[in-house]
């Protein structure tokens, strides 16, 4: 069968026939727009691009694109995306999911994705609320936020996705904001180009249940140009700076990704002979 690649010239060609169902002003529109743009800038072949998503408002994202998509079960974005990429390393795999999906129900998968360093990009669309179920507190809801469904606020400390990813030793860590789509697009491109597990914390406010646009607009600042992205200690200092929310690339290293490790392993093992069923059975005679 002749293999036709599917490239597009402008973002309108990536849009699917399904109209997004998000609320007006939702930060997820910004993330979607930046993904469209990144696909065009990188000239990605849509036939070889897979967007994997979890459950929640963000989970709908692949349906609004003409890429391959997989909208799975709640919290399992990372293992699903891992399976896709390890099965066919030639695919570009982007995983998207919310803060609840990735840090509550699916929180156990994040460190292991970091350990494996599979060449996928994980965009956590963080609105600090459970939007689809109408306003419950999420793992990133800060105690100072009060929500409609949560008049007394949350009683727990909020998790910081950037801090976690640095602690887990994720090989590319960046933060973006739906209020700054140009920068978001640039960093999505960098993250997708990174060979290994790249994590982008996308602050994507929920206008219906936890409108944090004003809160973040007052605090976001670009990471200073002099920051050395290979310096983990300096990256850790950045996220701890009180009163500021840094945007940009925090950290980056270039260790081997798991797909390459497996490829090398196969080469080593097969240098003594490729697998055949006859050889397999010989072990049992």
């Amino acid at each position: 069968m002749p293999q036709t690649n599917v490239h597009v010239q402008n973002v309108n060609e990536i849009k699917s026939n399904v109209v997004p169902v998000w609320c007006p002003g939702c930060g997820d529109y910004g993330v979607l727009a930046a993904i469209y743009r990144a696909c065009v800038i990188m000239d990605l072949d849509l036939k070889s691009t897979v967007i994997v998503s979890g459950i929640g408002c963000s989970g709908r994202l692949p349906i609004f694109t003409k890429c391959y998509g997989f909208h799975g079960v709640h919290g399992r974005v990372l293992p699903t995306a891992t399976g896709v990429k390890l099965a066919n390393p030639k695919l570009t795999v982007i995983a998207v999911g919310g803060d609840g999906d990735g840090l509550a129900i699916g929180g156990g998968h994040f460190p292991h994705a970091a350990r494996r360093n599979v060449d996928i990009t994980y965009i956590m669309m963080d609105n600090s609320v459970y939007g689809l179920t109408k306003g419950q507190g999420s793992p990133t809801t800060a105690p100072e936020f009060t929500l409609k469904a949560l008049p007394y606020g949350v009683q727990e400390e909020n998790l910081n996705p950037v801090a976690l990813s640095l602690a887990y030793d994720v090989s590319y860590v960046a933060r973006v904001f739906s209020g700054a789509i140009d920068q978001m697009t640039d960093l999505f491109v960098k993250a997708i180009q990174h060979k290994g597990f790249s994590f982008v914390h996308a602050i994507s406010p929920c206008t219906a249940f936890n409108d944090t646009y004003k809160f973040y607009r007052e605090r976001v600042v670009p990471i200073p140009a002099e920051h050395d992205v290979h310096n983990k200690k300096s990256a850790l200092d950045l996220w701890q700076t009180k009163g500021k929310v840094y945007l940009g690339t925090f950290y980056e290293d270039n260790r081997l990704d798991m797909g390459t490790t497996f490829q090398k392993l196969s080469e080593t093992v097969q240098s003594k002979g490729k697998g055949t069923m006859e050889r397999l059975f010989d072990q049992f005679t």
């Binding site: 069968m1 293999q3 036709t4 690649n5 599917v6 699917s16 026939n17 399904v18 849509l46 036939k47 070889s48 691009t49 897979v50 994997v52 709908r60 692949p62 349906i63 003409k66 890429c67 391959y68 998509g69 997989f70 909208h71 799975g72 079960v73 399992r76 990372l78 293992p79 699903t80 995306a81 891992t82 399976g83 896709v84 990429k85 390890l86 099965a87 066919n88 030639k90 695919l91 156990g108 998968h109 292991h112 494996r116 497996f262 392993l265 196969s266 093992v269 097969q270 002979g273 490729k274 697998g275 069923m277 006859e278 050889r279 397999l280 059975f281 049992f284 005679t285």
Partner: protein, 576 residues
């Protein structure tokens, strides 16, 4: 000369090393000497400490069950003798370690004491090789050729230093010499088989893993769990040779979802687990069914519920396999009957999964997964492998119908990287395009589509095996690893003049309807033996075919013995 013998080795794993390895080497030595073998083992759930036992039955004919009574018992300690004495035949032989204990006088006529530790220490400089002395004694008594045993020992210790291997061989030889010096009254040489064929000897888990490789499975993900872990270990070793990937995931949910991801990307994928892990996989099983992405899930059942009896066998996950999970998610449930069936059956599991784009569950159990059995080395040229029906042509403009309505319920599938017809697979109810759609008419239509596959799968051939007497009034309907003891019981029943028919059902959902109806019509009484408490298959047969069934349940963590089946046959025949 007997046609078959049953030998058991036992001892405390805290004080004796090598209970299991003695059994394993003995098994391979028998297989190398052209005998058929069938093993059964129980490990303590802990990795050190507690009584372990390894039983092997050897024969010059296909061995169908682990056997009931012992011809030879090798007891490393007194506790072992206490535990297993009741199973030793009255003319059976006890081999024991005089360095550990001396049995009471009642064993005088038929016991054989060897100072295993002392002999080992003398010839090899370490007591550790006392199991090799024991292996020497028993292989001499059984008349297994020394060279065959030596080859097995060298293979077993191939990763150890030369000195250790030498010490082990010396221990083995001194055990053989010890046995030669002392006369054994009874003949323990099994008559050699007349026709020699090329055989393989492997465990159920290894056979399933081998079958998966043959089927073209190139992605495996699993989380360690007894008694399924050997599948993970074997495939981690083998798949890199075949350009495949096997990973150990952080849990069973990651295992199954990553398999679904891999299969979505066009690669055949499998995971294996036991009951507790299977429970965790149920949500994602529905995802596989809903998105129509084929996967194979092996459940090596163990005693439950909860953590239950991790190292013991049970057939108690059938209901979970057929009905487990939320919503109505069509899936296929199969069960292998023996080790050979583990190899051939799992190929069928992959074939059905691929042809119908549906999850297939393959229910083994501890006794089958961890047993070693011989079978004729498969001829690999004529075993069919089926692949999924792929979408052809370009549908980049968005007119590809991933879930197109067809007569069979199966729609051509587009594969990322190959087919320029991208679509989104979603666990939400969707229309033919794959777009989310919750309208009443669509939900019904798509539910019918997904279930339609089951009607055709039920008609696939080769999922029953009928044996026994054609004209019998008493029939046995069974599933999974109980087939062997049933077949042996039927042979014994024949010798007593009873006629019994049997139908082994290898696909439990959907049921191979025609064959089962035909069988039920042909007999007047149907016994359903199961290793569970509630009679799970029995309930299904009753509700589907509206017939009374006679249950035979064993809920003890142990397989059936042929005698237990035979007793039930006699009871039913005498009553009627």
């Amino acid at each position: 000369m007997p046609n078959n013998l049953t030998i058991r080795v036992g001892g405390d794993t805290g004080t004796t090393t090598g209970v299991i390895s003695t059994g394993e080497m003995l098994t391979f030595a028998m297989a190398r000497s052209q005998y058929d073998v069938f093993t059964f083992r129980t490990n303590p759930a802990e990795s050190k400490g507690g009584q372990a036992m390894y039983q092997v039955r050897m024969g010059n004919h296909p061995v169908l069950s682990q056997g009931t009574f012992l011809d030879i018992l090798i007891a490393y300690d007194e506790e072992c003798l206490k535990t297993h004495a009741k199973d030793l035949k009255s003319d059976g032989l006890l081999i024991y370690d005089t360095d550990t204990f001396v049995p009471d006088d009642s064993y005088q006529e038929q016991s054989y004491g060897v100072p295993l530790s002392t002999v080992a220490q003398t010839v090899s400089g370490t007591k550790k090789s006392k199991n090799l002395v024991a292996l020497g004694v028993v292989t001499e008594i059984l008349g297994l050729p020394l060279e065959s045993v030596k080859t097995v020992v060298k293979e077993q210790f191939r990763h150890k230093p030369e000195k250790v291997v030498e010490g082990n061989i010396k221990s083995l030889e001194s055990g053989r010499a010890w046995a030669l010096k002392n006369n054994i009254l009874k003949d323990f040489h099994v008559r050699p088989r007349e026709l020699k064929t090329s055989k393989v000897v492997m465990s159920g888990n290894e056979a399933m893993a081998a079958g998966a490789v043959y089927s073209g499975c190139r992605y495996y993900a699993g989380y360690p769990i007894t008694p399924a872990s050997e599948i993970l270990e074997f495939l981690q070793k083998e798949l890199p040779k075949f350009d495949g990937v096997a990973i150990q995931t952080e849990d069973e949910i990651a295992a199954i979802t990553s398999c679904i991801g891999a299969s979505f990307a066009g690669v055949k994928a499998m995971t294996a687990t036991s009951g507790p892990g299977f429970s965790l996989m149920l949500e994602a099983l529905g995802l596989s069914s809903m998105t129509e992405i084929p996967i194979v899930i092996v459940d090596c059942q163990r005693g439950g519920p909860s953590t239950g009896l991790p190292t013991k066998t049970e057939q108690s996950d059938l209901m979970q396999a057929i009905f487990g999970g939320h919503g109505e998610a069509p899936r296929v449930v199969m069960a292998p009957a023996n080790v050979k069936d583990c190899f051939f059956g799992i190929i069928k599991a992959f074939n059905i999964a691929e042809k119908y784009q549906i999850p297939v569950l393959f229910l083994s159990d501890q006794s089958l997964s961890q047993r070693t059995q011989t079978y004729t080395r498969p001829k690999l040229t004529n075993i069919e492998v089926w692949n999924r029906l792929k979408a052809s042509g370009s549908h980049a403009n968005g007119d590809y119908l991933r879930y197109q309505m067809t007569d069979t319920g199966v729609s051509p599938i587009a594969v990322p990287g190959e087919s320029p017809s991208p679509y989104v697979a979603t666990g939400l109810e969707h229309n033919e395009h794959g777009d989310p759609n919750y309208t009443p008419a669509n939900h019904f239509r798509m539910t019918v589509k997904r279930h339609k596959k089951l009607e055709n799968i039920a008609k696939e051939s080769g999922f029953t095996r009928r044996f026994g007497d054609e004209q019998a009034k008493v029939g046995i309907l069974s599933w999974g690893s109980t087939e062997g003891p049933i077949e042996e019981a039927i042979h014994k029943a024949n010798q007593s003049g009873y006629e019994v028919a049997a139908l082994q059902v290898k696909m439990l959902h959907p049921l191979p309807d025609e064959e089962i109806k035909h069988f039920l019509k042909s007999v007047q009484h149907v016994i359903v033996p199961e290793l569970n408490f509630t009679g799970q298959l029995s309930q299904i047969i009753r509700s589907k075919y509206l017939i009374p069934t006679i249950r035979l349940n064993k809920c003890a963590g142990m397989p059936f013995t042929p005698e237990e089946i035979l007793n039930k046959i006699e009871e039913v025949i005498i009553k009627n």
